[in-house]
Symmetry: C3
Subunit: 344 residues, 3 copies
């Protein structure tokens, strides 16, 4: 079991220890449920009410929250970042047993780096290259000529299709599909003609991809996910999309083909973004927004209407169909009233 | 083949047989397509028009619909519930052949209960415990120290990640991912630091989970799905979420992290629910609603705007951007008119 | 490597070659990135600006765009369709090695047509019938009595459940689940009773299904996907749904149970369609629309509200709750003003 003193942890996160620097910390917990020996953190103000009564041995807090902390503290500028770093110290190591499980099917023309682990019933096809120290979990299917960088982890039942490239330190959760064909169809008098999808998926370093997310290969050019991008579960990334470095996207969002999203963006969950748009760097889009035009300036953007009791909503919903008429009738009223006042 | 008399079926569902109690029933069908020998039901009033012409040998109806039924009937208070019970009598048994398929990979430190069936190419890792009579289908991957109760069924290609707990009589459809990491990221000057996801997924008894749905493990505490919850396909359940007993959620809905949903709720499809909310018991939310605030009272809630012909929608859509201005101009008009009347 | 002269390609797509008919074409590329030896196309007017500077050896254009083309051209009525046909000439053949991989598990009572290929760790259960020339990729699970037509391809980790029928020339991408139970539940005083899902999924010829899409089996009748339907990724098709021939649906759209969609429709991404509706032939629905009523006429339909800067959106969003009140106050103003004018 990992243990650290409070003073050690403070130094590790460049914070200032308050209280007993020799306190021994053995793990992490929430303010509400931590037990003695654990360190907690206060980041979301919604949880400030637990600060006075926490059983944690110490709490990561900002300078302004420190006075309200009844136990030992480490004062830092960003408690959540400091918590993330400390929690990683205490998190159990993922077991890693290099070697190819006897039930795995590895083509003789695949290339496995040093200390690679290939799990039970995984399939690695010809010319695939798996970087040193990477783990390919049970049931994963790695297609022809796929390239995966060093120290990456594909958890289980992940499919990576022919020619896709994934960088170093990727973390790819179960059920992800990378490199399936984009939705390219040409309509010939009602019949759909398939447009061959000849591009690849190219993923940078330090990318995390959530369970059952799908990233399609490009039609002619590549679909590109830049370094440090974080994708949640059940996201759809269409063909030819580019997602800029360090952008994060929450679950169930769909990005249609050929759209380019900038760097350092934050996209909420269940957002829909149509194709062929450009979204600038440092754009935030709140959950469930519908994006139909390019966004050229950083900032926070939203769409949607509020949740209401069904009976009230039905009334407002019906009026939406007449919003343009409402506007025009209001303008007519203004004109009439102006005329009346002119006459008065 | 299972057969029952009408009288037997009426007794089985605590209903009253009308007509020939000795009629032999061999199966179930819809009002439109049932053939003689089958029993049907009328639940959705939209299908009442088929009651007079059905070829079914009998129909499950309410007292008020009974007079319109041209064939034998069983009168019950809830025809759909009675139909569900009767259909289960006639449904083919799922074949269950206890044993471990020779292609499955079961760790020697896994524990299999009596009459467990492990399908082809399934993988069961160390310290996993599979309850008596449970079936783990082809291609499923059951991680370390997972616990699955008795008489549960994981259909195929399901992934259950380390430490997750599933109760008895679970029915989990293909492609489901349970226990992948939650989307926990701390932003350190633009770079994302991964927050270790140390909690588990804990699922009660009698839970059904639809195809390709994902349920993330908790960050520090557990993600909890209580007894009798029913989840449809392609649903996202974020980390630390709790879903109360007997709540049902339709397809493609996303529940963001740390939200607590009450018992006996019904959530429609493609709903988006933001994180850190509390939703009371017995709340109904209609499809495609956006939920951004806690709901403290039972009732039915909705959001969204109506479908319109595109040309008309474009006009109303454009006016939405000026809704606040419209409100303020209307108030100005009211003030002006009041003043004018005062003067008059 | 495939090569063709410009004149050959023009004949192949029934177009007219302009420039050097003997120019040798070796592949395809976009206007921006094509290199000499490649043919490109101009379809989306957004890319017309690249026509003057493209390095392609030839471009597929309409008659009206031909004058702006600085290089060889093939004039056609629909450049995208012509491009699709030509790109297929140059696309690499999918490798197809008939035979059953030794790691696959094929039940002795399954029936494999001529030249079928069964990939590593695939599972084919009893009484399944796989048509001639079809490919079942790595990790696919084909349930009991499933029927798959000739020349179909299931890429990898696809699950097709008992009794489903798939036609000829299907292309099914990784992670798809066909034939899982529909979401059929009857509520008995708060407890959910499972309604057995006794129907099948029946899929016509020439259907493409995107990664991680789910299509549920019917409750009593079948879920039907007609010939030539194209489904993108992460789509949910509920039980008893029928999708008419040659309809295309973009990613993340959900179609609830028993809804019938006509032929030649185009449904955008992240659309929600409630159950028990009928949608006519040749209907277009734009992305993210909410469909709660049947559509009886062809045309284009939409719903939703515009993306705005968050601060402005908050104001408009708040006013939406008072839209009905706004309407009524505007009508009161009109009445008052009329009265006033009457008096005047």
């Amino acid at each position: 079991m990992v243990t650290r003193t409070l003073a050690d942890l403070a130094a590790y996160v460049s914070g200032i220890a308050r209280g007993n620097g020799n306190e021994v910390i053995r793990g992490v917990g929430t303010l509400q449920s931590a037990v003695p020996g654990q360190i907690s953190f206060l980041s979301n103000p919604q949880y400030r009410r637990y600060l006075a009564t926490t059983q944690a041995s110490a709490v990561l807090v900002t300078e302004s929250d420190a006075p309200g902390c009844a136990v030992n503290a480490i004062v830092v500028s960003n408690p959540y970042v400091a918590y993330a770093r400390i929690a990683r110290l205490f998190a159990p190591e993922q077991p890693h047993s290099p070697g190819v499980h006897p039930s795995a099917v590895v083509d003789s023309a695949a290339e496995l780096g040093a200390d690679v682990s290939i799990g039970p019933n995984a399939v690695i096809e010809a010319e695939a290259v798996i970087g040193a120290g990477s783990r390919i979990g049970a049931g994963c299917v790695i297609g022809r000529a796929v390239s995966i960088g060093a120290a990456s982890c594909l958890e289980a039942n992940v499919t990576v299709w022919d020619g896709s490239r994934i960088g170093a330190r990727a973390l790819i959760h179960p059920g992800v599909v990378i490199g399936a064909d984009g939705f390219g169809l040409a309509n010939d008098a009602g019949q759909w003609i398939k447009v061959p999808q000849l591009g690849r998926v190219v993923i940078g370093d330090d990318v995390e991809i959530g369970a059952n997310t799908t990233i399609d290969r490009g039609a002619l050019e590549d679909t590109v996910i830049e370094d440090g991008v974080k994708l949640d579960n059940l996201i759809q990334i269409g063909h030819n999309v580019r997602i800029g470095a360090h952008t994060a996207i929450a679950a169930c969002t769909a990005v249609a083909g050929s759209t380019k999203i900038g760097k350092y963006c934050g996209i909420g969950g269940t957002v829909g973004i149509v194709g062929h748009l450009e979204i600038a760097d440092r754009v935030q889009i709140t959950g469930m927004s519908m994006v139909t035009q390019s966004i050229t300036e950083p900032g926070t953007y939203s769409s949607g209407t509020p949740l209401e009791a069904n009976a009230q909503w039905r009334k407002n919903y019906a009026r939406f169909k007449h919003l343009d008429e409402l506007w025009r009738r209001m303008k007519a009223l203004e004109a009439k009233l102006n005329q009346l006042q002119g006459k008065g």
